[in-house]
């Protein structure tokens, strides 16, 4: 910090003029250093994870499709609606690079988009919310210097991801041109979502709001391109694809035609969005958002005065948001599944990869969607339970624990909300998938069947909640990062474990894959084991929470 202050003083002496445009950016270089110093580890971990995935997948696909004949055979059947909807229209599927694209491109692109959204919000709106930006702005720092530095660092990070991905793929023997285009396509997606997060960071007043808004835009981009890829004419997606920043990345067609110009579209969009964000920043005060803050009620309602009611009230917005997201997702899964099912056949290896061991292809596919839906609901449960730690690190737990409520009862009130809401969401979204699918095949009985299959995952969601409590109690300082990290790997493992060529006993025994899928023979044993595990973790967690010191940030 001292060096920053010293250097800040030097910056002052260098910028004697007042009111010049450049002044708005005074201290920019210093802020870049500052942000890099605070985030280098985070960025490094993302880089290793994303580049590492490429190395693993290229290797596993080389083993899966060793000869050109294998790849040609694969290419002949690769273009299915399921692939188109989930991972995008395949190009050059008869090359190893093309196969890599099918398996991993979408995952990498979406992961990078999330990474930059979180990074930009963390250093932007979250800092401002915490009042630290004010501290910096009180020094010799131009109005836009900090924001611009934030975006530039995130842009550098996007370039780093693109480059490291490309280098790893080249190291694995993939052709250089296609590989560089692939790397650039990742970078392009990253850049656009920096712009998106830059704007949402100006609009929303809280970091949660900024992240949520940007994530909704990301989801919309994903669904738009899914719809476009499903309506493809040969290997040309519908024009709708150009409405999605993810579509721009896809249109670079790495390992296929390898086009550079869509990258220009991404860069231009990113620049425009950042310019818009700067414009917004000029128009508002530090700490404020553009979306207005209204006055509120003078008194707390009878419900809000109970611990569970308070939890509900505090998470009201996020519960409504997740519920809508889950419901829209469920309807989407239901309709898309119907469309895909017509075209799927049981001997398609990709279909096999997705649908597990079930006999009925359609059931298997829908079961896969049901699980994706469950993972979404689990993410909600995780985020909701994570507030146990957030309350403690922010100092609000001190406020509550010094009142007449035991820590155990307090924690239970925080767990009850995600537990009950996830039950309701599982039932409703399961029913929605079934009903929308049932409507298309004229079978109204599907709703109940899907709801039941979906509810079989409730113990798994409870295990997520229990794990969060356990970590918050035993490892408070790293709990949040740890739970999200493990949950993230669980998602990848559950959804795509087969494709990474991991052993079956791993892939089939995650808390999500161990649950009998729709169409599989039902057995209560995994549910009981998972539920039992959840109870053990909760008991251990609460026991620890009760006996340890309060641990602020």
């Amino acid at each position: 910090m001292t060096t920053i202050q010293e250097q800040g003083a030097r910056t002052l002496s260098r910028t004697p003029g007042r009111g010049r445009v450049i002044d708005a950016y005074a201290g920019f270089g210093l802020m870049v250093q500052f942000i890099v110093r605070r985030n280098w580890l985070r960025m490094l971990i993302w880089t290793i994870a994303l580049a590492g995935m490429i190395a693993i997948v290229v290797e596993s696909q080389r083993i899966a499709f060793p000869t050109q004949a294998d790849r040609d055979a694969y290419a002949a059947i690769a273009n299915t609606p399921s692939v188109a909807a989930l991972t995008g229209l395949p190009y050059a599927a008869s090359t190893l690079g093309g196969i890599l694209n099918i398996k991993l491109w979408m995952t990498e692109a979406v992961a990078l988009a999330f990474a930059v959204i979180f990074l930009v919000t963390r250093n932007g709106r979250a800092e401002e919310e915490a009042g630290r930006t004010e501290l910096l702005r009180g020094g010799v720092l131009g109005q836009h210097a900090y924001s611009l530095a934030n975006w530039v660092v995130a842009a550098g990070f996007s370039v780093l991801i693109g480059l490291s991905s490309a280098l790893v793929a080249i190291g694995q023997g993939l052709p250089a041109l296609g590989t560089l285009v692939m790397g650039a396509s990742f970078t392009g997606v990253g850049l656009v979502f920096i712009g998106v997060a830059a704007v949402t960071g100006q609009l929303a007043q809280t970091s949660r709001g900024a992240n949520a808004l940007a994530s909704v835009i990301l989801a919309a981009a994903y669904l738009t391109r899914a719809a476009a890829d499903l309506q493809a004419d040969e290997d040309n997606p519908s024009i709708l694809s150009w409405a999605s920043p993810i579509g721009w990345g896809q249109q670079m067609r790495s390992y296929g035609e390898s086009l550079w110009w869509p990258f220009g579209v991404s860069v231009a969009a990113a620049v425009l969005l950042c310019a818009l964000a700067l414009l917004l920043e000029r128009r508002r005060d530090v700490g404020e958002g553009i979306l207005p803050d209204r006055r509120g009620p003078r008194h707390a309602s009878a419900l809000t005065r109970t611990p569970v009611g308070l939890t509900l009230r505090l998470q009201r917005g996020s519960i409504i948001g997740w519920s809508l997201g889950v419901l829209v997702g469920a309807l989407f899964f239901g309709t898309v599944a119907t469309a895909m099912a017509d075209l799927l056949s049981g001997d398609n290896p990709i279909a096999q990869g997705f649908i597990g061991g079930s006999k009925d292809v359609l059931d298997g596919l829908l079961g896969f969607f049901a699980m994706a839906n469950v993972l979404l609901i689990s993410a909600f449960a995780l985020q909701s339970t994570d507030t146990i730690r957030a309350e403690e690190s922010s100092g609000r737990a001190e406020l509550q624990w010094s009142r007449a409520i035991s820590r155990v009862r307090w924690a239970l009130s925080r767990m009850a909300v995600p537990a009950v809401i996830s039950f309701v969401l599982l039932a409703f979204s399961g029913y929605a998938i079934g009903a929308s699918f049932g409507a298309s095949i004229g079978d109204p009985g599907q709703g109940g069947r899907f709801a039941a299959a979906s509810l079989a995952y409730w113990p798994s969601v409870l295990l997520v909640i229990a794990f969060v409590v356990f970590c918050a109690a035993w490892l408070p300082r790293v709990a949040s990062a740890l739970t999200w990290g493990i949950f993230g790997s669980m998602v990848v493992l559950s959804m795509f474990g087969d494709m990474f060529g991991l052993p079956d006993w791993v892939v089939d025994n995650t808390p999500f894959t161990a649950v009998p899928r729709l169409g599989e023979e039902f057995s209560a044993v995994p549910l009981i084991v998972i539920g039992g595990l959840a109870v053990v973790l909760v008991v251990l967690g609460l026991q620890r929470l009760r006996t340890r010191d309060m641990t602020a940030a």
Partner: protein, 306 residues
């Protein structure tokens, strides 16, 4: 001890990893009294208070609050205690009014009449979202919640942090009123005037240890008074009197510090010199305190030891 104690802490110790935050701390708050709790930054005031609130667990020593064990009986005790932290953190998207109600409900009493009265006294708008409150206004939310409660014991950790002078005055009135209602108050503070005005007893700690405690009068007793007087004749006579120190003369006006015990000798020596305009100043709390705050505190302490 004939008086009953609201807080009785003896030999309290607490370690954080390698830091020894409390090192045998003693603290007493008599029932119905206001006790000041002073110490330099990082001396362990907040840590002691958090132990009393059952938020931290002591490593050693004993602590009793309202006759119960702060850790074991935390939930029951908290019905009878109200706490205000030096930095009140609220839920950003709830209003101040909502937060006050929720905090009251968590303690088990919400008295709308009292809440409205204190809202008015502190001039706080309860319909604003906490995120748009200023520092002082957030502090007021905590204060209104605490004073509006019927808690027997108020634990206040630098509660006026960020309040403007006018509001500090309101705060002083509220504490006096709480005392008049028979409530006990533990007040940690860095503001001497506040402590001098409000507190019946004062405990000064340093590095997690109690270095001084008692009523203000008792503490003053231990300290040297400053005297200023105009005399005829040579002030050198005075310097010969044992117990007189820091003697300075400005013409006929001399000033010096003196031990309580040396006063008779000083008076005898002064009498023949025709003293006029004698002023004797007892040590202010600030002086008492700076003795323990200052870098030379250790040396000063060593010097006063027999």
């Amino acid at each position: 001890m004939t008086q009953s104690l609201a807080v009785d802490v003896h030999g309290l110790t607490k370690n954080f990893a390698s830091t020894r935050a409390l090192d045998g701390l003693d603290l007493r708050v008599a029932t119905g009294s206001v006790a000041g709790f002073l110490g330099p930054n990082g001396s362990g005031k907040s840590t002691t208070i958090r132990i009393l609130l059952g938020l931290l667990r002591a490593d050693g020593g004993t602590a009793t609050m309202l006759g119960g064990d702060p850790w074991r009986d935390a939930v029951d005790l908290h019905r009878r205690v109200a706490y205000v932290a030096g930095d009140v953190t609220l839920w950003p998207n709830l209003t101040g009014g909502q937060a006050i109600d929720i905090l009251g409900a968590l303690r088990g009493d919400v008295d709308r009449g009292r809440i409205d009265r204190f809202l008015q006294l502190f001039d706080l708008d309860p319909t604003k979202k906490a995120r748009s409150y200023s520092k002082g206004n957030r502090q007021k939310v905590g204060l209104v919640a605490a004073f509006a409660s019927r808690a027997e014991l108020l634990i206040l950790d630098e509660p006026t942090n960020g309040l403007d002078p006018l509001m500090e005055g309101v705060f002083t009135d509220c504490v006096s009123e709480a005392k008049a209602e028979g409530r006990s108050v533990l007040l940690s503070s860095h503001i001497f005037a506040e402590v001098e005005k409000l507190c019946d007893t004062v405990t000064i700690i340093r590095d997690g240890r109690t270095v001084e405690s008692g009523t203000l009068t008792e503490l003053r007793h231990l300290q040297r008074s400053t005297m200023t007087v105009t005399i005829d004749g040579d002030s050198a006579v005075l310097s010969a009197v044992p117990g007189v120190q820091e003697l300075t003369a400005d013409g006929q006006r001399v000033s010096f510090s003196v031990d309580e015990g040396a006063l008779p000798d000083v008076m005898r020596a002064l009498a023949p010199l025709g003293p006029r305009g004698l002023i004797s100043t007892p040590p202010s709390l600030e002086e008492l305190f700076l003795r323990h705050y200052g870098l030379h505190a250790e040396a000063a302490e060593a010097a006063t030891r027999p």
